[in-house]
Symmetry: C3
Subunit: 370 residues, 3 copies
């Protein structure tokens, strides 16, 4: 079969240089995931942890990203992006689907994006794990347990107000859906980057809990160091809930995130703090290069969940799924990467959540970009 | 991350020229849409226009088109096309999805297409707005209010026969679904183009209202001028309905479209007429270049809807949604474009429908092709 | 509109040769399908064969395949693949959708795949029709009637145990869904190829009939000849069913396939045998080149279905749809291809199933690769 071979490091420009481009890129990753939280042993109904999923599964993702861009005669750039992505998690695989589009305007140090925006909080340096292929631990990030902030979904039609429907409570680029459909502006000058994002929810009416989100992020980099701060304000309807214990609960309070980090070449470190209405959380992270091709990273997270919203065991937030919610206590993780060359990397990771039981997860596999 | 950069104006042909090709192209467009017909102010249930959608929203589309083609040793061309397209309208965004495929055979001036066909009526010059990036007014076409024909969907299981399920009542290439799944032939010789299209509906049975559609379009271009005529005949089951006023209603009558236009360089004009079972409609359109990069276009449409099918206010067709149906009265629109270079264009548009209230729409934004 | 033209036979490699690639390829095919099993003539309810589908329909497919690959410094290759495919069958067309991803590791003669795997039985030479563009008869394969094995779907919650939900009962690369989400290894040395595949079903619990499938395929090629054998073992839950006649039915028995074939240049032939729990089946196939560009292929299949599982007419397997099930008796088919050049082929095919009535199908059309 005849095929096109696109050399992805070569700039193809014959004759008159093109003003408008289409770029294809992406990555594949696949490996094995051992997750103690899964259990496929039905045992005639005597296994309370039975969820029909084996403890060991394939975890994989294939992402094809399409970037379009052009530039006006006046030097203003226009660009757009979407992705098609296929995933397998917990033994459940699906066909690839496209996400929603992000459109961008660039001029000098200024970027304005529309649609499936990055989000100001999401873009804060130090929020995700530094330099790991998954932006978390292992092959697929392991639910990003290292993050010191997590999403909270308030649903007044539910008996417990807090539901696991939304993993991340801030505007963030979505690889699987339309995303925030918002607007954002980024400006970079010298070591300074500022980022403001806004999304409007149209479902503002009776019995609907749409959020309007306004977020800001500021970062300053100097030498080997950076400091960053981000804040998101949320405008809900209604503005105040009363929880099951009769406590007033004001979702307007929003969330904030602070981090400072350094990269001294062979060594790197980061300290990050996040706070929202139900939890305060610290993450300490360090990594070091081993030889020419290896890197070892470790993180520890300590989260203090507000007791009034805990479950009967005083451990988890009421209504959160264990995997995505914030759990009171200490979690940690280790990530090892070995550069195989040609854009491919061997990755192994281990993480332990703050939950009392079924809290271990291990992954090993390969990541390659194209 | 390594990326492919495809220069889209460059013909890449190294060594032996390829017989089979894949082409990527498309466009992005995004801007703000103010639409008086929307209203997100719930006002404790006292707002009759409340539909949960803000008056001002992002409107956007990202289209990636894939064209495949080859040529036999005998000079017969084969081609195929599909698109992946992501859209946001009225504040509701979605991930991109592919449409159905169109397959083509070309030989000299003859084209035969199969599948997601263009459609003979759809292909008539002068049907859509001339030269605007949206083929209508503004960023997203504003429901193509300038068209002198609109679709009618007859549903005998509904109490009012006419429902808004189908916007356009003729076979047309669909960017979001499988389309007509029909067959068509186009022949061009000199200034003459003829086009015949046919689609068969398989759901022919009890309680089903599938249509078999046969359409023809003829166009003649001479100098700066063109004239065109198109007709679609529809074979329904059953063939005759009785409306709420006891009038027999024969969907066999089909629809026709006539237009004449001219392009004198700096100025252009068009007069178009359309007629179907429930309405007669005229559209007059003119446009002029302003300076080197700008174009201003204006249109006015006058529609005379058959009174027996009007609602209690004698204004709208019974059962049509306001946005897509034909409304008795006069509508007009203005479109302004400024060429920014690099395939990008600034677009602004204003249109006013024939409805008595909530009839204004304004859009401004950017379109760029790649 | 500016467009990218990718010359698909040219290797584009400027400057530093790229380590990571994205390749686009695929094919389009379209034509007419006459199928006696369809009948759209409602006849006021007096037609027992009425299924709302015309006897003659468009059959078409447009496939765009995306292949990504890279190579490590140590010479290990990594690759991934998915496809977007749009189809029309029996007059019903749909937009293109992506399937699930397959990831591969290659080193010397060894291949390890993960995800949407090929499958060891599926990969057996001689299973599908040799050298036809559809891998079966005609444009779309005509349900691959020539295969001596077919899938059986056992559903204990159904009254008849056997349902047509799964066409093929072995792990196979899926163009329309996520596929087996399994693991496989292939090793080739000299004329010998070995292939082992495994897939695990997580839905192992009460009232669920998930299968774990383990399959092996061995092939040896020597001169103009090959011999092959494949076996799949299935581990079901529960392991034994009792059919409507009280017979114990052990789904563990699996299925096997044997074939021997030859290609003497102008002539080719194949004899294949398949057996599963409900049927034994033989297929004999021969083909010959006619002139420089034509090939004519014919096959005959004889299937002996276990009587205890037949319907009241002693003809079809209980619970199988006629189109996909195995029918007791003799079927045959003829396929004609003419190479038009440029990767395009004219294809015509006729097949007759073993069913007593409505058993003829004819297709003619065009296939072109890119």
């Amino acid at each position: 079969m005849k095929k096109v071979l696109f050399a992805t490091t070569a700039l193809i420009a014959l004759g008159s240089m093109a003003a408008a481009d289409v770029r294809l890129s992406g990555y594949g990753r696949f490996g094995l995931d051992f997750n103690q939280a899964n259990d496929s042993d039905y045992n005639n109904g005597n296994n309370p942890n039975y969820n029909g999923v084996s403890e060991t599964n394939i975890t994989s993702r294939l992402r094809l990203q399409v970037d379009m861009s052009t530039e006006t005669d006046g030097g203003v750039g226009f660009n757009a992006r979407f992705r098609a992505q296929a995933e397998s998690r917990d033994g459940s695989a699906g066909g690839a689907v496209f996400n929603g589009a992000r459109f961008g305007v660039t001029y000098g140090g200024l970027i304005v994006n529309v649609g499936n925006i990055i989000g100001a909080v999401e873009n804060a340096p130090g929020l995700y794990t530094t330099g790991t292929r998954s932006a978390g631990t292992g092959i697929d990030g392991m639910d990003f347990m290292s993050l010191p902030i997590k999403g909270i979904n308030v649903d007044p039609t539910s008996s417990n107000f807090l539901t696991p429907g939304t993993t991340f409570g801030w505007d963030a680029y979505s690889s699987t859906s339309a995303g925030a459909n918002g607007v954002e502006a980024l400006y970079t000058v010298g070591g300074f980057t500022g980022h403001v994002s806004f999304s409007q929810d149209n479902d503002y009416g009776p019995g609907v809990t749409g959020e309007d989100r306004l977020a800001i992020m500021l970062t300053y980099s100097f030498g080997d160091y950076y400091v960053t701060g981000a804040y998101q304000s949320v405008d809900n309807n209604p503005l105040v809930y009363t929880d099951v214990n009769g406590r007033a609960y004001d979702q307007e309070d929003g969330m904030y995130f602070l981090a400072a980090g350094a990269d001294w070449g062979q060594f790197g470190a980061k300290l990050a703090y996040g706070s929202n209405d139900v939890a305060d959380s610290w993450t300490l992270e360090g990594n070091m290069d081993i030889g020419a091709a290896s890197n070892l990273l470790a993180w520890v997270n300590s989260t203090d969940v507000d007791g009034a919203l805990l479950d009967a065991n005083n451990e988890s937030i009421v209504g959160f799924a264990n995997a995505v919610g914030q759990v009171d206590g200490t979690a940690f993780g280790i990530n090892y990467q070995y550069d195989l060359g040609g854009g491919s990397t061997f990755v192994a990771g281990y993480a332990q959540s703050a939950a009392d039981s079924n809290n271990s997860q291990f992954q090993a596999g390969v990541y390659f970009s194209f």
